[in-house]
Subunit: 431 residues, 2 copies
C-alpha cells in the first residue's frame, strides 16, 4: 500500500459518528513501519480493494475500518513469540484503536468474528502477532441482541438465593461413572446445601451415561432434595453435542428435570447459543473449553474479556471462566476483566451474566475469591471441594455454607472451623 493510500485508513475520532462503529483495541507486533502495518490491518478487515479498476470511486469513507490512535514502542529483542521469518527491519509493539463500521456485516456473531478475528487481523502484512484486547459496542449494535433471558436476578429468583454466591458443584467422578451413582452424588450434595449440581463439560450423551437416563435420575433426585430441604435446586445438564441433536437433547433434559442447560460455548459456536437462548425456558450456562488456546498469550489471539462479552451477547445467563489462583494460569487482572464484562451495567439493555470464576475451589478458597470479586454476585464451582470432601458430598456442600457464614460474620475461617467439622475437614484437605 502506498503512503497516500494508507491515509484513507486513518481518521480523527471526532470525524466519526460513534453509533456506526465498533471500537476495537488490538496490540500487535510488527516488523517495519507501524503506521503502514496499522493501515493494512484496517484495510484487510474492511475494504481491502476500495475501488474497481478504471472506475473513479472510493468505498473507504463509509466502509473502511479506521485507525483512531496508535501507540508504538520499539522491541529491540524482537518478537515475543517465535514467528516465521519476515525479513529485516525493526520490530515494534503497538497498541491501536480502530473504528470498524458495523454495517459492513451487521449484528451477527459469526460475521463479527470473521471481521475482527479473520484474515484482516491475522494476515495483515507485517503483523505476525496480534491480539484483540477489547471491543466496545455502541447501543445501535447491542440493541439487536436479546442477551441473557434470566441474568443474575432471574437465576437468584429461581433458586431463592439472595446476598450470597450461588454454590455450584461439578459432580465427580464423571467420566465413567454410571447415571445411578452419579445421581446419588448430586442428591447428597443438594441435601448438604448445594444450589446447582452440574455435569462436567466433558460429560456428553454417551452410551455408558445416556443423557435421557441421567437427566431422569437427576431430576428425581433433585425433587427429593427439594422436598427434604424446602428450597429449590437445579440440575445443570451439559447438552453440548452435534447441533442437529441440540434441541432434542435440550427438551429431553428439561422435561426430565434439568433446571438449566450448559453449552461448551466455543466448540458449539456462539451462534448456537444465541439460537438456543431464544428457544429455551431455562437458564443457559457457558463453559470455556478451547478458548484458552487463543487467549492465554499476552500478545497473540484474543483477550478473554472479548470472549466474555460475546458470550453475554449470545445470551448466556451464567459464564464459567478460568478463575483466580495459580492452577488456572490466568492473571488475576484478566479474571477481573471478565467478571467486569459480565456485570458491566453500561452494556445496552442487556442483562448481566453471572460470572463463575472456577478452578480447584473449595471452602478453603471461598473467602479469597469473594474478596477478589468484591461482591456476592458470582457463582462458586468446586468439584473435588464438594465431591471429594472426606465426609462426603453433603459435608462438602455444608462446608461452603459454613465458610460463607464465617465470611459474613467477619469470623476468621480457622476460628469458625473449630466447632464445624465439615469446614474443618475442608480446610485440612483442600487448604
Amino acid at each position: 500500500m502506498k503512503a497516500v493510500d494508507a491515509r484513507g485508513f486513518f481518521s480523527s475520532a471526532n470525524a466519526l459518528e460513534f453509533e456506526d462503529y465498533l471500537l476495537l483495541d488490538y496490540v500487535f507486533e510488527c516488523q517495519g513501519d507501524p503506521e503502514l502495518a496499522a493501515a493494512h490491518l484496517c484495510s484487510e478487515q474492511s475494504t481491502a480493494q476500495w475501488k474497481r479498476v478504471n472506475v473513479s470511486e472510493d468505498y473507504r469513507p463509509r466502509f473502511a475500518a479506521k485507525v483512531l490512535s496508535l501507540d508504538t514502542q520499539a522491541c529491540p529483542s524482537g518478537f515475543s513469540s517465535p514467528v516465521v521469518e519476515l525479513g529485516d527491519g525493526e520490530v515494534y509493539r503497538c497498541k491501536v484503536r480502530i473504528a470498524h463500521p458495523h454495517a459492513n456485516f451487521g449484528p451477527r456473531l459469526p460475521n463479527l468474528l470473521s471481521a475482527v478475528l479473520g484474515e484482516g487481523a491475522f494476515f495483515a502484512p507485517g503483523i505476525p502477532l496480534i491480539k484483540l484486547l477489547d471491543i466496545q459496542f455502541p447501543d445501535s449494535f447491542l440493541s439487536a441482541f436479546q442477551g441473557p433471558r434470566f441474568g443474575i436476578q432471574g437465576l437468584r429468583e429461581r433458586l431463592q438465593v439472595e446476598n450470597r454466591p450461588i454454590f455450584f458443584g461439578v459432580i465427580k467422578p464423571n467420566i465413567g461413572l454410571p447415571p445411578e451413582p452419579f445421581a446419588e452424588l448430586g442428591y447428597q450434595a443438594w441435601t448438604g446445601g448445594l444450589d446447582i449440581a452440574k455435569d462436567d463439560e466433558m460429560l456428553a450423551d454417551v452410551q455408558w451415561s445416556p443423557l435421557a437416563e441421567r437427566a431422569r435420575l437427576l431430576g428425581a433426585a433433585r425433587m427429593r432434595a427439594e422436598q427434604e430441604t424446602g428450597v429449590p435446586k437445579i440440575y445443570l445438564a451439559n447438552i453440548t453435542d452435534e447441533l442437529d441433536r441440540l434441541i432434542d437433547l435440550h427438551d429431553t433434559a428439561v422435561a426430565a428435570g434439568a433446571g438449566a442447560v450448559m453449552l461448551n460455548a466455543w466448540p458449539m459456536g456462539l451462534s448456537a447459543a444465541r439460537m438456543l437462548s431464544a428457544y429455551t425456558k431455562v437458564p443457559m450456562v457457558a463453559h470455556f473449553p478451547v478458548i484458552a488456546g487463543m487467549s492465554r498469550l499476552p500478545f497473540f489471539g484474543v483477550h478473554t474479556r472479548v470472549m466474555t462479552k460475546l458470550q453475554r451477547l449470545a445470551g448466556f445467563d451464567v459464564i464459567i471462566m478460568p478463575g483466580f489462583g495459580a492452577r488456572m494460569m490466568t492473571p488475576a487482572a484478566e479474571v477481573q476483566a471478565c467478571i467486569d464484562a459480565c456485570l458491566d451495567p453500561t452494556f445496552g439493555n442487556i442483562k448481566p451474566s453471572l460470572p463463575v470464576p472456577g478452578g480447584s475451589d473449595s471452602a478453603a478458597t471461598l473467602e479469597a475469591v469473594y474478596n477478589l470479586v468484591g461482591s456476592a454476585d458470582f457463582g462458586f464451582v468446586p468439584g473435588r471441594g464438594v465431591f471429594s470432601h472426606p465426609q462426603g458430598p453433603a459435608a462438602g456442600a455444608r462446608s461452603l455454607h459454613q465458610a460463607w457464614a464465617a465470611i459474613s460474620a467477619g469470623v476468621p475461617m480457622a476460628e469458625a472451623a473449630k466447632d464445624r467439622p465439615e469446614l474443618k475437614a475442608a480446610l485440612e484437605t483442600f487448604g
Copy 2:
C-alpha cells in the same frame, strides 16, 4: 498427583485395542517433571477423578487417556512464549503421544474439541504451553461421519473440469460494492474462463448487498455466462450468518442460482457445517477466519492439519486455507500437511476435500503453487489476480488458463507471455 497414581495414565501401545482410541500428538512445554505433567494432561482430559471417596473402584483402565510415548528435551532458555509465573524448576519441551478412548464422548465434533482442546489440554498442571499437532482417527470413529457429499470428483463433474486446478476468484471489491456491479464483475470473470466466482468471506447478508438480491443477480449472470461459454459455472455464496438464518439463507441463495455455499467454518462452528452438509444439495466450501489465532505459533494452540481433518470430517467439499508464500505467514510444510489432510486416501470411507491454498495469487504464482502441491487436485483462488487485472476480470481469468497451458506444455512462463497479452499483463502487474 502421586507418582503411583500417575502410572495409571501410562500404557504400552500393544496393551490397547486401537479401534477404541484416538491417537493424539501434542507438543508441550512444562516446568517440573515431564512424566508427571504428561500424566496430568491425560488425567485432566479424561478421568480426573477415577474413583468415588471410600469406594474401591478405578475408571482408568477403560476411561483414562494414556501416554504411549514421551520425548523430552531440556529448554535452558525457558518457555518459547511469555507465560504466567509458575515458580522455579527446569523447563522442558516434550512430544507426547496419547491414546484417548473415544467412547468417552462419541463421534461428536463439539465434544471431541472439548476433550482434546479443553481444560484437559490448556489447564493441565505444569503445562502453560501446549499445541495439538495431530489426531489419528480409527475407522470405528470415522465411520460415524458422512464427510464431503461431493468431494473433488463431484465438484469436477459439476464443472466439467478435469486435469487442471479449479479456478476460483474472489470478486473484488466486495465490502461496499452494490449487487449490480458485483454481479457484472462475476460475469466478466466467468466469460474469461473462471470456474467459480465467490463472495469474500467477510461479505454477509447486509443492507447494502442483501444476499437474496446478490444471489439473484449472480445466478442470472452465471446462466448468461454458461450460455455464452458452453461450460458450467458456479456462484459461491457466503451464507455465514447467525445459525437460525442459515437454512433460509442457504435455500434463498441456492434457489437464486448459487451452485455452492461457503461457511466460515470456525466462526459458525464445525457442527453447523456437519448439519448443513447433511441438508444441502450443493458443494460446501470452508473458509478459515479465526483459525490462525490458535494455530500460528509453533508451540501453542492447534495445528492447522487438525483443523483441516475436522473440516473434512464435518463434510466440507472444499477447504480454503492459508497458502504458500510470505504473505500468508504459514510455513510451506504446514500448508503441505493441510493439503495432505484433504487428500489422504486412508481416512476411512470419507471422500477427499479439494484443498485451496490461497493468498495473493495470480497467473504469476500458479506454477509455483502447482509445483508445491504436486498435482492438479487443488483450487486456485486469486482475488486481485483476476479482479484487479489491468485489462479487467475476463482478462484476469484468461491469464490463469494461459498460465496453465504454459505449465502443461512445459513452456517457460515468460516465453508463453510473449504473444498472450493477458498473461503478459498479469506477470507484469502481479509478478
